[in-house]
């Protein structure tokens, strides 16, 4: 059943790839962001899935590729004759070089040290970014415009979408193929037991540097694609948010599957796009989802579909229902809190002599002191939690 579900999921994903051609620029744009995020997260996960190296500074390599491509596009504007479709390759190459240099330093250590060094490198680049006006364009960044090439004018995003689709497929192809090469195999072994690998005569530091550089290059490819799409880049691309995104997306999606990060990146980019305009608490929900996945689904979403255990449709449905119940309850309570703690509500209260006046949420008028308003969501949430608890208990004893 899980296999069927997974295949269905991939089929839906495949259909989505073609969707922008029917739905126009807005969805082309969203689809482009999703694919770029998917490629970036997967490139990040090359380090983790294989070598168990957890980078908190991959925004640097993403940004390096993006800057390289925007610089190249400026050169094309000025008359350089390079077809636009090859531009992302330049981003990948530049990030490869940057990745080799920083990767050499970072991979001197592993484990938590590695994470902290990558974080520090990212902070360093981020703090230097605005200084180097010529290269990074200061706060405003640098911008360019896509020039027509090879018979396409690239004015609409649908045409850009083609480039992104093509290069993402190349990127995923490389990731898929790499796992099967001797070096890919060595990288897996490295993640399991670096010491043992050294006694087989492998220079593990060199392996890690090469792996890091490859991961950086693919991140740069993703960055380059964003450069082509956005036609503009500034140093904030090196900021903590860029580096945190692939981490969150990867582990929510499922870090031990080739396509897990892509799934996580697609979902979170999509949800982020929808929800961040509707609620101010999107980052909170994302954080809670991340922590819950780390706590209860170590394999992420994709990993939970791909376990060897057989689960009946009924159980899956109940579980999905339970998750739905508890998330509805959580969202209701958080949004209520956000409204009740807001300045606007405080002043309305003050206007009414400090009374707990009704507040409006989801087109409902709610009384903040009513036991029903808090009790019902709490009850619903508890039912949800109890349901999934019961399911996991019975799953353990079975």
């Amino acid at each position: 059943m899980k296999r069927a579900l997974l295949i269905g999921l991939y089929a839906c994903g495949g259909l989505l790839l073609l969707a922008p051609f029917w739905f126009g620029d807005r969805y082309a744009n969203l689809a482009i962001r999703m694919m770029i995020a998917a490629l970036f997260a997967s490139a990040f996960n090359l380090l983790w899935r294989q070598a168990r190296l957890l980078s908190f500074g991959h925004g640097v390599y993403f940004g390096a590729g993006m800057f390289a491509v925007v610089h190249l596009m400026r050169a094309i504007e000025a008359g350089l004759n390079v077809p636009l479709i090859l531009a992302p390759l330049v981003g990948a190459l530049v990030s490869l070089v940057v990745g080799l240099v920083f990767g050499f330093v970072a991979t001197l250590r592993s484990g938590a040290y590695f994470s902290m060094i990558t974080l520090a490198i990212a902070e360093l680049v981020y703090s230097l970014g605005p200084r180097w006006q010529g290269l990074f364009g200061g706060e405003a960044g640098i911008s360019s415009m896509r020039m027509p090439s090879m018979g396409l004018n690239f004015a609409t995003l649908n045409q850009v979408y083609l480039i992104v689709l093509l290069w993402c497929m190349v990127g995923f192809g490389i990731l898929w193929f790499f796992a099967k090469t001797p070096l890919g195999q060595i990288a897996f072994a490295l993640g399991d037991n670096e010491q043992r690998l050294r006694f087989l005569g492998y220079r593990t530091h060199a392996v890690k540097v090469v792996l890091f550089a490859l991961s950086a290059a693919l991140s740069g490819l993703a960055g380059g694609l964003l450069g082509i799409t956005a036609e503009n880049v500034d140093y904030t691309v090196f900021g903590p948010a860029s580096s945190a995104a692939p981490v969150i997306q990867t582990f929510i999606g499922g870090a031990d599957m080739l396509l897990g990060p892509a799934l996580g990146a697609t979902l979170l980019t999509g949800f982020g796009n929808i929800f961040s305009d509707v609620t101010r608490l999107w980052l909170l929900y994302q954080g809670i989802a991340f922590v819950l996945v780390v706590l209860f689904l170590p394999g992420g979403i994709a990993g939970s579909f791909a376990t060897g255990k057989r689960v009946s449709w009924g159980n899956a449905a109940v579980n999905a229902f339970a998750v739905l119940l508890s998330s509805c309850s959580l969202i209701f309570i958080c949004e209520s809190a956000a409204v009740l703690l807001s300045d606007a509500y405080m002043s309305r209260r003050a206007g009414q002599g400090g009374a707990w006046v009704d507040y409006r949420l989801f087109n409902l008028d709610l009384a903040p002191l009513s036991p029903l308003v808090w009790g019902l969501p709490l009850l619903v949430g508890l039912i949800g939690v109890a349901l999934s608890w019961k399911l996991s208990e019975s799953g353990r004893t079975a």
């Binding site: 938590a112 060094i117 230097l128 010529g134």
Partner: protein, 313 residues
């Protein structure tokens, strides 16, 4: 001269604040192997709780209760979250704390709003300790320094000379053995994490009254604290102290120095060439103050990978 003196003292105090925050982090890492990404968030929680509790009880009781509450939160995190993912390895623990940092940041903003709150120094400490050439030196700075120093002394004595320290260290290297001797290893870890969190909470409650207590205070300090811990050697209390002071002094003293690489090349006659290149050659040292800790960290890692006081890996 006044400038040098005041910079020295300011640097020392800032270094001691860094130490207060990094002490808990290095303690937890040294004892449990967990790199706590949420540590600076606990520091922020300490400040906000100090502010909230202080509104009811006044400053001094809040200074006691806020760290206690943070320690309880730490105990909760260890017991019900970290322990759950422990079997999946340290990376999973790190990810968990990373996620917790995201949540704490958003929750603080939900409850306290996006602006810094009015957490003020109590009247009895809002005085001038001494003045030199027209610059006052606030008493509260001395207070921060005093708290940090006593924290170091207590921790040092606790680790070196009591059974607690012995048990904890043994629990790390030989968990089964310690268990067999009748110690509850789980309880030891719970205790360590709670104490580490409580120390961060104390640092927050003390420093939050002086530095602004706002939702960005965790991000502001977080990465510098990592630098301190790496430079000092993960798990080494003495190393953390030395690194904190060094980074505090260095970032404070470089503020006045407008040196550039291009200037440094002047003796070999390359100054003009370097200036024409621009970019990194013309950045002044004073404008690099914020980046300096990270440069130091990279240098230390290249020259002495285990940190100043860390044991050779």
């Amino acid at each position: 001269m006044t400038y040098l003196l005041s910079s020295l003292v300011n640097g020392l105090v800032f270094g001691l604040l860094l130490f207060m925050v990094s002490a808990g982090l290095t303690l937890i890492f040294g004892m449990m192997g967990v790199l706590n990404f949420a540590h600076s968030s606990l520091y922020m929680l300490g400040a906000y709780l100090g502010y909230s509790i202080g509104r009811w009880t006044g400053f001094w009781p809040a200074l006691l209760f806020a760290p206690l509450v943070v320690a309880l939160i730490g105990a909760f995190i260890e017991r019900f979250m970290l322990r759950r993912v422990h079997r999946h390895g340290h990376a999973q623990e790190l990810l968990l704390t990373f996620g917790l940092a995201l949540i704490i940041h958003e929750v603080v903003k939900l409850f306290y709003g996006p602006y810094p709150v009015e957490y003020a120094v109590p009247a009895e400490l809002a005085q001038t300790a001494f003045s030199a050439n027209g610059l006052n030196f606030p008493l509260y700075r001395l207070f921060i320094g005093a708290v940090a120093v006593s924290m170091f002394v207590c921790l040092f004595l606790l680790m070196k000379f009591t059974r607690v320290g012995l048990t904890v260290r043994a629990a790390l290297s030989q968990p089964q053995m310690v268990e067999a001797l009748g110690h509850n290893v789980g309880l030891v870890f719970l205790f360590v994490f709670a104490v580490g969190a409580g120390l961060a909470g104390l640092a927050g409650a003390v420093a939050g009254a002086f530095y602004p207590t706002g939702p960005n205070m965790a991000d502001d300090l977080g990465s510098i604290v990592f630098v301190v811990v790496v430079v000092g050697g993960l798990g080494s209390l003495e190393g953390a102290l030395i690194a904190s002071l060094a980074i505090g002094l260095l970032t404070t003293l470089t503020v006045g120095l407008d040196w550039t690489l291009a200037g440094a090349l002047a003796p070999v006659g390359l100054s003009e060439w370097a200036s024409s290149i621009g970019g990194p050659f013309t950045i002044t040292l004073s404008s690099l103050t914020g980046s300096l800790p990270f440069i130091i960290m990279l240098l230390v890692l290249l020259i002495r990978p285990a940190g100043l006081m860390g044991e050779r890996a």
